[in-house]
Point group: C3
Chain length 365, copies 3
Amino acid sequence: MDFLRHHQKYAIQETKMEKSISLRELALLVEGDIVGDQDLLIHGLAPLENAGPGEISFLVKAGKKELLEQSSASAFIVPESIVESDKTIVRVKDPYLASAIIQNHLLKTEFEPRGISERAFIGEDCIIPEAVSIGASAVLGDRVRLGERVEIGPGVVIGDDVTLGDDCILKANVTIGYQCELGDKVIIHSGTVIGSDGYGYATDKRGYHVKRPQLGLVRIGDDVEIGANCCIDRATFGLTWIKSGTKIDNLVQVAHNVIVGENSLLVSQVGIAGSVTLGRNVVFGGNAGAAGHQTIGDGTMVAGKAAVHGDMPAGSMLAGTPAIDAKQYFRAVTIFGKLPDIARDVRKLKKELARISAKDDNESS
Amino acid sequence: MDFLRHHQKYAIQETKMEKSISLRELALLVEGDIVGDQDLLIHGLAPLENAGPGEISFLVKAGKKELLEQSSASAFIVPESIVESDKTIVRVKDPYLASAIIQNHLLKTEFEPRGISERAFIGEDCIIPEAVSIGASAVLGDRVRLGERVEIGPGVVIGDDVTLGDDCILKANVTIGYQCELGDKVIIHSGTVIGSDGYGYATDKRGYHVKRPQLGLVRIGDDVEIGANCCIDRATFGLTWIKSGTKIDNLVQVAHNVIVGENSLLVSQVGIAGSVTLGRNVVFGGNAGAAGHQTIGDGTMVAGKAAVHGDMPAGSMLAGTPAIDAKQYFRAVTIFGKLPDIARDVRKLKKELARISAKDDNESS
Amino acid sequence: MDFLRHHQKYAIQETKMEKSISLRELALLVEGDIVGDQDLLIHGLAPLENAGPGEISFLVKAGKKELLEQSSASAFIVPESIVESDKTIVRVKDPYLASAIIQNHLLKTEFEPRGISERAFIGEDCIIPEAVSIGASAVLGDRVRLGERVEIGPGVVIGDDVTLGDDCILKANVTIGYQCELGDKVIIHSGTVIGSDGYGYATDKRGYHVKRPQLGLVRIGDDVEIGANCCIDRATFGLTWIKSGTKIDNLVQVAHNVIVGENSLLVSQVGIAGSVTLGRNVVFGGNAGAAGHQTIGDGTMVAGKAAVHGDMPAGSMLAGTPAIDAKQYFRAVTIFGKLPDIARDVRKLKKELARISAKDDNESS
């Protein structure tokens, strides 16, 4: 297909804006210190290798200062340790953070409501402000209440009595079960299911599993982002609760009655079993997990693929299955491959010692 | 959003019914022994801390008997070892199981068919009883046959020649591929895909992978529940088969030609590779897996994150990757973190022994 | 449900065709050597136990030659080492591969376009050839460009400016984000999400996570197949790229800016973290993973559940977390269960040696 080949330059992927903003204004946003032309007009942000005139770029590590020379950007966000340059620079504490803040500012646009698609289905007694977008094939149940500037993608299904706060974005084919509550500025990516039944059964003498009704709901705080194809189960009773500021990657499982504290990070394929409570700013690496009914303290970091068993104090650093102290784990794991040598050495030592002991005993006798 | 804040009491999550049932009738269901007022009328079940008058609650462990005092419930399901109480109690062998049975009984309602949404699309030559509910944006292929009281959520897609038994519930955005067969009382949660192609390729000399057509189907027995965003692949030839009573959590992968025996439990993020046969009442913990072409005996239990390689006899208890006897694994794993100490000790022992041997030899000579 | 029980013979699952093809023609396709009737007409392929007259079957291993006797197939694809038989045989180097090629040839049909469902929604300025099928409840954005003979299942959502090559198949409920590019003959199974946002945040002093806009796209080469409920995230800038011939199983996560080389295999539940580059013909076993920002060489094989940390040269064979040489890992793991014995032996050896040393010192003094 010929038309497949013509996007080679990715101009579309840069942060291009009609509006231009002065470097002074951008530097203010990030408490940056400009060395160079403060009145420069900036209309976009791009990586060093792609940025052109009128765009700002960023350098995360001072050691790579020479990369600035090769870039066509008009200005650069750089670490504070760089004090001068031939180029116009904005010196900041954390260039990675500053560039994200500046890029978001450059990209900010008015919400443009597209209204409710004729192909969407809206249930009874819903409360829907005028300034929303609801895509084709989307289905809202009864008594759904949407905040201002909500965007609901095509194919989204929202159950009865769901409430969404302001500025929420539900991408295509998201499913939200009945009665769930989302705060403001929640982003949910495609295929994710909020409010499916928790996995709860009681097993009888014959080994038959009796379903426990799952009657609770899911509450999601403000500024939460949840990736694609995740599952956040409703509680058996009460709440499964993702608190404000938490960011969840794709394919993550959060079971019934889990509480995830503020500003936590659950990387892709994490699984949190039922009734676990995570503190705030907890980080679970890719495909890590937590067994049920535990409390994991604030700021705990769990290495990828680890599985936490048991309560953990705040600030724990964990790795392995079951997870132990991460430093201890990574020290031990470097020796793991030498286990056959160690085993052989121990066998030899036993023989040798037996020989010496025997000789010793002979000599003593 | 003000309307987000007013669900604080979760009255909605309790098991409230219009009908009231006598405690005598409920006790009969669970072979329970009532101490107190047998004629009490019960209309709901709730946890100890939430239950109010007219509701029954439950206590799983006798050791926490004092919790009954603080609860406002009218009656309590308790372990048999509690023989008396100031409160009205129902003594049972397994309070967790009994409370599930009683709750289900209290929640039982007549199926209320909502018919076929005008926004649903139904293919040709389907057999659809009157008493069904089919949601908006749902799409049924040709020759689909539905049992009585089937509930099909919005956005569900069902392929040609699929059959569903009675009382099946397909939640929103489920996909069922052509020719698959579901038994009675099957519940499938949102985003799950039944009957996608198995992952089968033959690789040629150039390293190019030739797709093997996947022409079999998926059969699902009675009383099976499958969580959200799972994948159950169709067989290459013949059947992938989930037998009756099995319960599958979210994000589980069941590959082509797998057979899962009756009443098995596959916890979230489990992956069962192609052509594995599981016996009945097998349990796979969260994110555990099984490599292809194995037979795993009845009642086998696999710890979370373990990976089973090779056939396993009935009643196996397994952990680790590749999985070994669980007891052995958990004993060994407690020592894992001490590997650096062991390695250092062995090095020291070797030196020390070399010194002694040398001295010994000197003395002998 | 009575109608559930009558599919016992699975005739439907065999490769039945109206057209018949001569054995001579089929043998030519796979450079096979016929022993027997070259003019036999074949209309289908089935496994040994199911194949009947007019069908061809296949035997992967020469050692099981006696199975041919029990089969009713008219001809058999067999390994070259079988030189003669009472049955009509086609001798080939790789019967598994040859049977896949023959089966695909037998199944090949003209594409029969069903057109655009009245229940589909098509955005503005799309380029859609006449020979396509677009199912009910499917939603296409603006400026979507489809190749010839594309098949789009019910409930599929395609964002603005997406391009699909010829002969692509998107199964029901797939989601493709804006601007993504698919090559020719791409197959994507239900529930998969292409082009969701990458997981990128910059964390400020308060521990609050600032979203990095994800402005890149996903490009998918020719002949790629992606299973059900996968997630392929768009790049932060530039491309996430799945190159031609790669086959991805279900529930796989491919993060932003990942490049997967040609003809690679990612088995179910694999997770590839951000900015990883995989070479060609790389294989990741089930639930294996790779941590971010690595380069993994051509032909590398990673065992199931392993996690690769760090760059790896071409041809690496890896297992464990973090992954080490697979042979070393599998040798070490057989000893893992004996760790308690080794630890006890070492303790004993230390005591024994201390005793000898003490005695020795006494005698010396």
